[in-house]
């Protein structure tokens, strides 16, 4: 028996204390989180962080050593992949090379026992949806990477799964196509209302598409939150470092209050900044994003002085490297006009950051 469709449960997926080892290597260390229905949920992390193992567990290709996984409220650890209302878009697409696109998309529906007429309608609809209808009779070998990607999507969405799993589906595409596919994926998710679980190591993709992101590292969930929370309020050094660019400063916490801390920076300036929980006095790490540091006449908040020791003109932005009393700081400035790139190398300029934009990290 294939799992019945859900009756509108609030949670699409519940992962409870899941652990998994391969030999002596601990891939997952008691991981727990929930994914809401209709959510675009991303598991983000470097290779070896356990994100693919988790995805394979949701699909049913791996089983946890301990812990449980619930799909729409039902325990599925003992249920084989072909009985789970979950479909996967594989990194390699895994289209059946001996079948036409039409046959590929129809495959899941045939196995579900849909009647022929209904299958034909649905296949036509899905191929239309991903703009592949004119090529219905072709085989995968005759398609480009982007086209295969869209067929793989159509094939996985055709059976109306409760959850769609996407395993780094954009990694094989070139840059332009990747951007277009991001928008297309987001639109598909909104239109279908299906829960998407997306796995990637690309933080830009994660920030761009997700409702919520789980940052995974070393087999553990480091942080779960909205893209803004992950970027603006990283809970630890790992998250701050992996998502986006940042400056880490070794600081000393001199005064604490719930949610904030007063720190002494290596260049002597004292700042009151937000902190994760209640920071303890003593040494800590302060994270400041390069774009939060203002230079020259734009310097606001706490202002000190720095010398430009390197600059990289990127077109829309210019990245500056500063020497502030022996400490290196990276700052980036948006080139709204040609003046953005105007600060010359070697110049000593006012440097400022608004205290609320920096963050004291737990580790």
């Amino acid at each position: 028996m294939i799992q019945p469709h859900s009756t509108g449960a609030q949670k699409a997926i519940e992962v409870k204390s899941v652990s998994k080892s391969f030999g002596t290597y601990q891939a997952l260390k008691s991981v727990s989180f929930d994914i809401g229905s209709n959510e675009f949920f991303t598991m983000l992390g470097p290779s070896g962080c356990g994100k693919t193992t988790l995805l394979r567990m949701l699909a049913g290709f791996e089983s946890p050593d301990t812990g449980s996984i619930l799909l729409t409220g039902q325990e599925v650890v003992a249920i084989p992949p072909h009985r789970r209302r979950v479909n996967t878009v594989f990194q390699s697409y895994a289209l059946f090379p001996h079948m036409t696109l039409e046959q590929n998309v129809a495959y899941g529906l045939e196995n579900l026992g849909w009647e022929k007429g209904r299958i034909r309608t649905r296949v036509g609809e899905m191929l239309e949806r991903v703009h592949m209808a004119p090529m219905a009779k072709r085989r995968p070998a005759q398609l480009s990477g982007g086209q295969r990607q869209r067929v793989a999507l159509a094939r996985a969405l055709a059976p109306e799964p409760e959850v769609l799993l996407l395993d780094e589906p954009l990694s094989a595409l070139d840059l332009k196509l990747r951007q277009a596919m991001r928008d297309e994926l987001r639109t598909l998710q909104r239109d279908t209302g299906i829960t998407f679980v997306f796995v990637t190591h690309d933080q830009e993709e994660a920030l761009d598409m997700s409702d919520r992101i789980a940052v995974l590292g070393g087999g553990e969930v480091q942080q779960i939150g909205t893209p803004t929370e992950i970027y603006e309020e990283p809970v630890n050094r790992f998250v701050a470092d992996f998502v986006g660019e940042t400056n880490f400063l070794d600081v000393e916490v001199v005064e604490t209050a719930p949610g904030q801390a007063t720190v002494r920076t290596p260049f002597g300036v004292a700042l009151t900044v937000p902190a994760t929980g209640t920071a303890s006095r003593g040494r800590a790490t302060l994270s400041v994003r390069p774009e939060k540091i203002n230079l020259g006449d734009q310097a606001q908040g706490t202002v000190f002085e720095g010398r430009i020791i390197n600059k990289n003109y990127m077109g829309g932005y210019t990245h500056y490297t500063l020497d502030v009393a022996g400490t290196e700081l990276r700052a980036s400035r948006r080139n709204a006009s040609r003046e953005g790139d105007a600060i010359p190398l070697g110049a000593t300029v006012p440097v400022g950051f608004v205290a609320g934009s920096a963050r004291v990290l737990a580790a």
Partner: protein, 269 residues
């Protein structure tokens, strides 16, 4: 293709290739030519004739031997290919298979053992368990030694097939049997076909084991041909040989076409 490494650039390759082909095929050319010789004495050409073909095709003993060979080969092909396919699936795709390498070696062992040893051993075994029927003996023995030949191409094809496809099939609600029937088998078919073809040819070609196990009513073609030679060469033999060459060529061509079609259509993107 890198031009600098084209084999044609090596000096003397042309003449060497020509010499090689003459060396390889001259004996066959002689047999084919003399199969059309009107004279009974081989080596004395007296005129063109298809007499020996008619004579060979009317030779009851020869036709019986051919029938025995074809029957044994057909049954052995089916049995050995099925065994080889099951073995390959279990060894390559099975989960938690211990001693994978050892299992493979055991399947392939008959390739390494001297055939005469296997033949004698088989004969002794059949005597011990009292298998008298010649046909049954041949079928059992052939099925056994054809298995590794069928196994090799199937294993190669299965190893070359991405596991993703079978997972995708399971992900799309196909149970294991459906996955095998609709995804795995169609994709490894060229390997299965090559394996079956090899098994068939090996069985048709076998002399040592068949000679050891043959009984009055079950003589295979190679065993019969050998007995003809012992009685002195006959022009009929040339005709039989030529027909066998023709049959092999047809089989090989079909096999190549199937393999090429399989590779083209099933090219994994």
């Amino acid at each position: 293709m890198m031009k600098g490494h084209d084999v044609k650039h090596y000096p003397g390759l042309g003449p060497l290739a020509v010499f090689f082909f003459i060396y390889l095929y001259a004996p066959l050319a002689v047999i084919i030519a003399y199969s059309f010789n009107a004279n009974r004495v081989a080596g004395v050409w007296t005129g063109f004739s298809t007499h020996w073909y008619a004579s060979a095709l009317n030779n009851r003993a020869l036709m019986n031997a051919l029938e025995t060979s074809l029957t044994v080969a057909a049954v052995a092909t089916v049995v050995s290919t099925l065994i080889a396919l099951s073995a390959a699936l279990a060894i390559i795709r099975g989960k938690n298979v211990r001693y994978r390498k050892l299992c493979e070696t055991i399947v392939n062992l008959p390739l390494l053992l001297p055939e005469i040893v296997l033949a004698v051993a088989t004969l002794i075994l059949f005597s011990l368990v009292n298998v008298q029927n010649g046909m049954l003996r041949l079928v059992i023995a052939h099925s056994a030694f054809c298995t590794p030949f069928a196994f090799l191409p199937i294993r190669a094809r299965l190893q070359g097939m991405s596991l993703d496809l079978e997972e995708a099939s399971a992900d799309l609600y196909a149970d294991r049997w459906t996955t095998f029937r609709r995804v795995t088998l169609p994709l490894i078919f060229p390997g299965v076909f090559s394996g079956a073809m090899l098994a068939f040819l090996i069985s048709m070609d076998d002399f040592i084991t068949s000679n050891m196990l043959s009984t009055g009513g079950s003589t295979t073609l190679p065993v019969y041909i050998f007995s003809l030679i012992r009685a002195g060469t006959s022009p009929e033999l040339n005709a039989i040989a030529t027909l066998l060459i023709l049959a092999s060529l047809i089989l090989a061509t079909v096999a190549l076409l199937v393999a090429a079609r399989g590779t083209r259509e099933n090219a994994e993107p």
